[in-house]
Each structure stands twice: as C-alpha cells, then as structure tokens.
C-alpha cells in the first residue's frame, strides 16, 4: 500500500508535498482519478494575460525598438523569427557595454523578460503547490504534445496563454476538442506559420507595422502546420499518410489565421482560403470554408493510428522508456472505444498493472527535478522559486522553450549525460545550502518516497557530515532523480 502511494505521488504526481503520501495512501488509484474529473483553476494563473493581449506584445515591442530601423546587435545578429536570445544566451552574456546602443537581443529581453518571467513563475508555483499533481502533470504532457515554443520570438507573448486557453480546459474533456483548440490557437497558427499560408497566388496587403518590420507576406501554401498536425499531433510518423495528404491538408488549412492589432485572436480569413473540394487520406471534403479543415481534424482524431500514437506517448511518459505493448494496446483501446474521452483513457493508464512496477525507471526531466524539489520545501517561503528558472536553463530545459515542434524528449537517454547530472547536482547543492538547516533530509526522503528509499541512500543520509550535505545527497540521489 505504502509502495503504491509512493508510486502514485512520484510517477503520476509531481513529487510529494508533506502529508501527500498519506493522502494517496488508502486508495492511490482513486486519488489519481479523482483529480481528472474536471478542469482546475488556480489563483496563481488568474491574472495572467489572455491571447488577445499577448498578441499585442510583439507589435508593441516593434514600436518600442523603432520597427525596421537599422538597429543591430553587437554580434551583428538580429532575428525576429529565430531563437530567443534571452533563453539560450543568458549564462554567457557579456556585460553590456555602457553607452553602447542596445542590441536587438537586449531590447527583446527587456520587453519580453518580465512577461515570460511572470509566466514561468506562475507555472512553477502551480506545480509546486497544486493538490492535483496528476492533473497538472497531464497539463505538462499535453502542452508538450502540442508544443508551442518561445524559440520563435514572435510568439513569446502567447505561449503562456496557449496552455491556459487550449490545453487546461480540455484535460478532462475529449481529445478532439483539445486538438481543435490547440490547432486553432493563434500561438500554434503562428508557431507553425499558418498565418503565412494562403491560396497560391494570394496578394497580401500588409498593415503598417508588418510592412515596416519587413514581415514576410503570404503568397501561397506553407505546409508546416499541416505536416506537424499529422506527424506529431494525430496519426504519427510513418502511419500511412503521403506528401500529397500533407500538401492537400495544408491547402484545406489556408485561411486559419490570426487577426491584427485591433481584432487579436484566431480569425478565419476567407480571402486566403483555397476554395475547392479536397481529398485527404482517400476521403473527399467538400468546400466549406473554415469548417473544411475542422472536419479533417475530426477525422484525424478518430483515426485508429491516432489512438495508438497517443497511447504510446502516454505509456512512455508514465510507464517506461520502452513501453510495454500490452499497456499501449489497453490505453489505445480505451481511446478508440470512448472516441477519445480523456478520463477514460487515463483510467486505462492508471489501471495498467505495468504502471505500478518497481524499481523506478523513468528519469526525471529537469522540470520534474525542480518541481519535486520545490514540493518538498516549506510553502510559506516567498523566495522558494528564486533561481529555479536559471537552474532549468542550466539543465537544458528553460520553460516554454522546447527546441522543436516535437517538444521535449521524454526518455532517460536524452536527459542523462555527464553535463545533465552535473547540473542536477549543482541544483541540489544550491537548494541544500539555502534550506539545509530547516529540513531533515531523512524525514523528507521518507515523506516523499516512503518504502522506495534504499537502505544505501538511508545510510548515506545518516552519515552525512552536515544537514546541508544530507539534503544535497537526497535531492541528487538515484531515487529522487527517478519516478
């Protein structure tokens, strides 16, 4: 019983808060499934911006920096569609020369730094405090499945709203609704360039800001969104769709776009839409405007390859890097039989005996290391989140900045290398220096991993030369690095 509650709070949850092991103890499966019956709201997320205001941030930033003026970075690099300078470069930043003109990177950081910082903190705080950790872990899972990323600077203002608007409301709903909400969200449309896709030969009239900023004009098809929806969000790669299916789906998606400064949000632009019937995966879709691509999405969601693709990812995320075929099939069947009802799918996952096996084999991703650490710290400490984002950057998982539309990898071999282990130990050591006096590492170990703590680790904690060292050893221990 104790073993299963430790698995529930660590493998399915986000690491135990004080008392959580006992809370999950009597009925771990019921404790988990009770968290996914309906959407959750959090005070920490209440005041964050909606997509309508997030979309205005990039134009505001352009106005601030003087649009397409010849401002250059000190390193002669400037990009509005490349990677976010503030994400990758911070650890090695040169001290800005006083009196030097501001670089594109600096001004971008000054404008978007505070916006992203609020988003990161709120997300970390929810993870650290939520009494519904399984629900929150599923938010992470689906946000990663439908990745949008600040690695594209132009969407830096809307990646936060995306999770709140397209993912969170649908965690306990149906897959098809989440799919449509995600693909229709301005963050996804812009991340995968569908706002710049149009019927071949289209002549885009650009607004003042776009023209001054030398923004690209839509003159024809861009197949980026269509391909990634088929490859990553629904059917999965190699499941039988062709290049022609991708291109035709891209033509169906033309017109799914984003409004301007005064009507910020999703907008169907009929002038960009290719007005024709289309055949995708052997089925004919008559011309029906915005509805055409939505009908395709509904069929993609119901395709059996999608059920298998989602089931495989869930099993890999929750059970093992090499997920057992029996569990995959059980989850896929629940997906097919319920037509994508997510609580039914989660019940099949939680009901899989393979999901409760020991020893712990899933290596924690950096966000999991940091969040489970935060969940062990005293809640009332207002400085608890300090340094967490920097630590995530050090470990290679800066929040909301996945390197590609495929999202963060979720297998141990992608996360455990020499540098990654070193950064995890540095983080454990830094937290221990701050909290070591207040916390008893052995108590924390028992409170969070229960019977899963090995006698060797127990011994190492007991023999540590100081309370700080004991805490560092626990947070870096083989157990705590896994779930």
């Amino acid at each position: 019983m104790n073993l299963e509650s430790a698995i529930a709070v660590n493998r399915f949850g986000l690491g135990a808060r004080r008392g959580e092991l006992a809370e999950a103890g009597t009925d771990p499966r019921g404790w988990l499934l009770g968290q996914v019956k309906e959407a959750k709201t959090y005070a920490a997320l209440a005041d964050l911006p909606a997509v309508s205001s997030g979309l205005k941030e990039f134009p505001k930033y352009l106005l601030k920096v003087g649009l397409g003026s010849n401002r250059r970075s000190e390193s002669e690099q400037g990009s509005m569609t490349g990677s976010v300078p503030s994400q990758e470069n911070r650890p090695m930043d040169a001290a800005a020369g006083s009196g030097a003109p501001k670089s594109i990177e600096q001004s971008f950081r000054e404008h978007f730094g505070p916006i992203l910082s609020r988003e990161f903190s709120a997300r970390l705080q929810v993870g650290a405090d939520t009494p519904f950790p399984f629900h929150e872990r599923l938010v992470w899972f689906w946000s990663n499945h439908f990745t949008v990323s600040t690695s594209k600077p132009v969407i830096a203002g809307v990646v936060g709203p995306f999770e709140r608007e397209a993912i969170r409301p649908h965690i306990s709903g149906n897959f098809v609704d989440m799919l449509i909400a995600a693909v229709k969200h301005p963050a996804m449309i812009m991340y995968l360039d569908n706002n710049l896709s149009a019927v071949s030969g289209y002549k885009e009239r650009q607004g003042f800001l776009a023209a001054r900023a030398n923004a690209p004009r839509a003159t024809g098809i861009n197949e980026n969104l269509a391909r990634e929806v088929m490859e990553l969000h629904t059917l999965g790669v190699g499941s039988g769709y062709s290049q022609a299916d991708v291109t035709t789906f891209a033509r169906a998606l033309t017109g799914w776009s984003v409004g301007g400064l005064f009507d910020s949000g999703y907008r169907f632009d009929a002038r960009k839409h290719e007005d024709s019937a289309k055949t995708i995966l052997g089925k004919i879709y008559p011309e029906s405007g915005a509805r055409q691509a939505e009908d395709v999405l509904r069929d993609l969601a119901a395709h059996p390859a999608t059920a298998t693709h989602i089931a495989t990812k869930l099993a890999r995320y929750f059970i093992s890097d090499e997920p057992p075929p029996a569990a995959i099939e059980r989850i896929a069947k629940a997906f097919r039989d319920s037509s994508g009802d997510l609580p039914t799918v989660y019940a099949a996952l939680v009901g899989s005996p393979e999901a409760w096996a020991t020893p712990l084999t899933k290596v924690k991703q950096p966000i999991e290391v940091v969040t489970s650490t935060l969940r062990t710290l005293p809640r009332r400490d207002g400085t608890r989140l300090d340094g967490a984002v920097a630590a995530l950057r050090n470990m290679g998982q800066a929040p909301l900045s996945a390197p590609s539309p495929k999202g963060w990898p979720d297998t141990g071999d992608a996360w455990i290398g020499a540098d990654s282990v070193w950064k995890r130990i540095e983080w454990a050591n830094t937290i221990a220096a701050r909290y070591g006096d207040m916390l008893d590492a052995r108590d924390i170990a028992r409170q969070s991993y229960g019977e899963l703590v090995s006698s060797r680790t127990e011994m190492a904690l007991m023999r540590a030369e100081s309370k700080q060292q004991a805490l560092a050893l626990w947070l870096a221990s083989p157990e705590f690095q896994r779930r």
Binding site: S79, T219, V363, D413
Partner: protein, 391 residues
C-alpha cells in the same frame, strides 16, 4: 592527491563490477592525435542558400526571391567555381576553401527519403538505414574501433550520434557554483552500480576538471562559446579526440533572408563558430577535421511565406587543417523540373555516409571491416569517398 580514479580502482579490485563500464575517464591513454568535430545543423539547412548553384540555368528562375545574387555583384555570393558559390555571410568558409581546407558537398543526403525532421535526424545519427533502428549513434560506436579515445558533447544533452557504449562526456556553461568535493565523493559512492548516474558523474567530474580555470569569453552566440569550449577539450594532451556541437534553428519555413531573416543570423553564427574553432585550436587545427551536416535539404521553390518547406538533398561541409579540400563533391543533378526529386526537391546523388566513412577510415583510423559491420551496417553500396584526406 588521492584521486577518485584510485578509489574507483580500489572499488574495482574489491569485486564491484566495473568491467561492464566503458573507459570511465576522458583521460584514457590516447593513441591517435587526430581530432574530429561533428556539427549538426538541426531543422534542415537550406542547401541552395548555403551553396547557391548560381551557374545552373534554372537557379534564378526556380528560386525566385530567394535566389542569392551571383558572385561579382553587390552583396553577391562567394565564388567557388563556375557552378557553385558560398553564401556571402560565410567568408571564413570561403577562405578555407581557397586554402584547400574545405570540401563542399552538394546534392547530398542520407538514405532517408521522407520529410520528417525527427526521423531524418534519428537515421543520420544512428548510422543504419532506418529511423529508430537502434538507440546508439555511429560516432559513439566508431570510438570502439579507434585508438583509445573519448568524445565530448558540448551542450546540456548528448545527441544520439554520440550516445552508446563508449565513453562520452558532456559539458556546458553553468551559472551555479560547483559542489564541494566531499559531497561529490559521497555521491560517487551512492551512484555505484547505477548504470546511468555512475558513469555520468565520473565523466562530468573529468570534464569539469579539464575546464577548470578556463575563462569563457563573453559570448552571446551559444555555438561560438561551445566552439571555444570544444577547443579547450580537444587541445588537452589527455583530452577527448572527438567533439559534437548541436546547432538548432534551421527550419526556415518563413522569412529566410533579409536583415532579420533566420538564415542571415544563422550563417553569421556558423561562420563565427568555425572561425572561433580554428583560432582556438591553434596548432591542433592541422590535425582536425570538422563535419557540418543537416538532416535534409529544403524545397527548391520558395513556399508561400518567403521560406522553404521540407525537401530531400542539400549541402554539407568537411573542413579543417587535416582535410584535403578546395574541392566540390557533387554529382549535380540539375534544377530542371525533370531532374527534381518528386517534382519538388533537389535530387540526392551523394550519400553523406560516404563522407562519414572517409572521416572514420582515413582520418580517425577505424578499420574498414569495423566500419562496415559495426558503425554503418547495411551500407555496402556506399563507399568511403577517396581523397578527402592527404594520404
């Protein structure tokens, strides 16, 4: 100083099985003196922008607004020969070509013929003819056939190409203080027998020892900083002989060119990365080869957004003091409609594995039989390209 190596040796004699562990330290005895750097441009670099085939009669017509101006025009490409040139923002590469230290590959691809970034990257890295066929990388496996040597991945994670049974460390800059050595020692004990954590910590300690005292110059372009770090490792007498650098952000579906274009930024950064590597390696440059590759090329025609979509063949580079360069390795298929792969992509005529095999055989001294059976199985038809290294 009683080093952890002594402790590990003692532990080994005490019966704890270290036999299954590969060479634990980076500081293994090193027989070979050649160096190899593998730079992976993730996201699919547009080969026709990097190496414009300006002499192809179809180039300007097919590329439209994305065509790079011909050599000898204002802001024009840097001429290689009558057919090919380099993007104007790659002057370091151009100078290396003039010094015969750069070989340019074009119409090159792996055996992958679909258009998924992630499968294409996986296949290029695992060395087989199938994505996800194995979870080890060809560069790691090749270490097993070299004079004893280790590799280091610059970055927070080890890319698939360098993953596997042989010793690979990794390193990237940190903003946090290093833990006390006593804490590290206790963790090393705690990790004993842990297949993932034990070797990772041992290699991390070696890597950080090698980097100790190195001042990283203030640098805003991450791969340039990583090139500095790579050179620090590769110039240590007992350091790794192979390094990898990941360079992401090449998926240019929109707005490739122009002042704020993604390729404008990326080519500048790539050029500086190579310049930095060359100068930081000093005399070791003469014994170094650097491969710059990407998972596939992009469509010949621009898409509807001033960018290009996923294609097939593209360009690649092999450069360094050890390379017999000043050559273009291309069996140019042309850009006419009939010549294009599936009517849209540059057709593949050169297999990138021919370059990789040449590096392993002629530069790093890996036996041909080992390459064919262990490193690139099922690739008999692909021969190592001759003449890329001085005999």
């Amino acid at each position: 100083m009683s080093s952890r190596r002594d402790i590990l040796k003692t532990a080994g004699m005490g019966g704890l099985s270290l036999a299954g562990l590969p060479r634990l330290t980076l500081a293994a005895p090193t027989g070979g003196d050649k160096r190899f750097v593998f730079i992976f441009l993730r996201g699919a670099m547009d080969g026709l922008s990097a190496v414009p085939a300006y002499g192809d009669p179809q180039y300007v017509a097919k590329r439209g607004a994305l065509a790079i101006a011909a050599p000898d025009t204002a802001g024009g490409a840097l001429k290689l020969d009558g057919l090919f040139a380099l993007h104007p923002l790659l002057p370091t590469l151009h100078a290396l070509y003039a010094k015969r230290q750069l070989a340019v590959f074009h119409a090159a691809a792996t055996s992958y013929r679909d258009r998924s970034h992630f499968d294409a990257q996986d296949l290029l890295e695992n060395g087989t003819a199938k994505a996800h066929a194995r979870d080890t990388g060809w560069l790691n496996l090749a270490l097993g056939g070299m004079p004893p040597a280790s590799a280091v991945a610059l970055g927070t994670s080890v890319p698939l190409v360098a993953r596997g049974p042989n010793a690979v460390s990794s390193w990237s800059p940190s903003s946090l203080p290093a833990p006390a050595s006593d804490t590290l020692e206790r963790l090393a004990q705690l990790y004993r027998g842990d297949a993932l954590l034990e070797p990772a910590l041992a290699r991390a300690r070696d890597a950080n020892e090698m980097m100790a005292g190195t001042i990283m110059k203030g640098e805003t372009q991450p791969t340039v900083a990583l090139a500095q770090a790579a050179a620090t490792f590769l110039t240590k007498a007992d350091g790794p002989r192979v390094a990898t650098i990941d360079f992401g952000g090449w998926d240019t579906h929109t707005n490739q060119h122009g002042e704020y274009g993604v390729l404008t930024r990326n080519f500048r950064q790539l050029d500086r990365t190579i310049a930095t590597l060359q100068s930081a390696l000093g005399p070791v440059w003469d014994r170094t080869a650097v491969a710059i590759v990407t998972e596939f090329g992009r469509t010949v025609a621009p898409n509807g957004s001033g960018g290009t979509d996923h294609g097939t063949a593209g360009a690649a580079f092999l450069l360094g003091g050890a390379v017999n360069g000043g050559r273009i390795i291309a069996d140019w298929p042309g850009l006419s409609d009939r010549a294009l792969f599936e009517g849209r992509d540059l057709a593949p005529t050169t297999d990138l594995r021919g370059m990789f095999k040449a590096v392993l055989r002629s530069h790093l001294g890996v036996a041909e039989s080992f390459i064919e059976t262990q490193v690139f199985p099922d690739s008999k038809s692909v021969k190592a390209i001759d003449g890329l290294f001085a005999a």
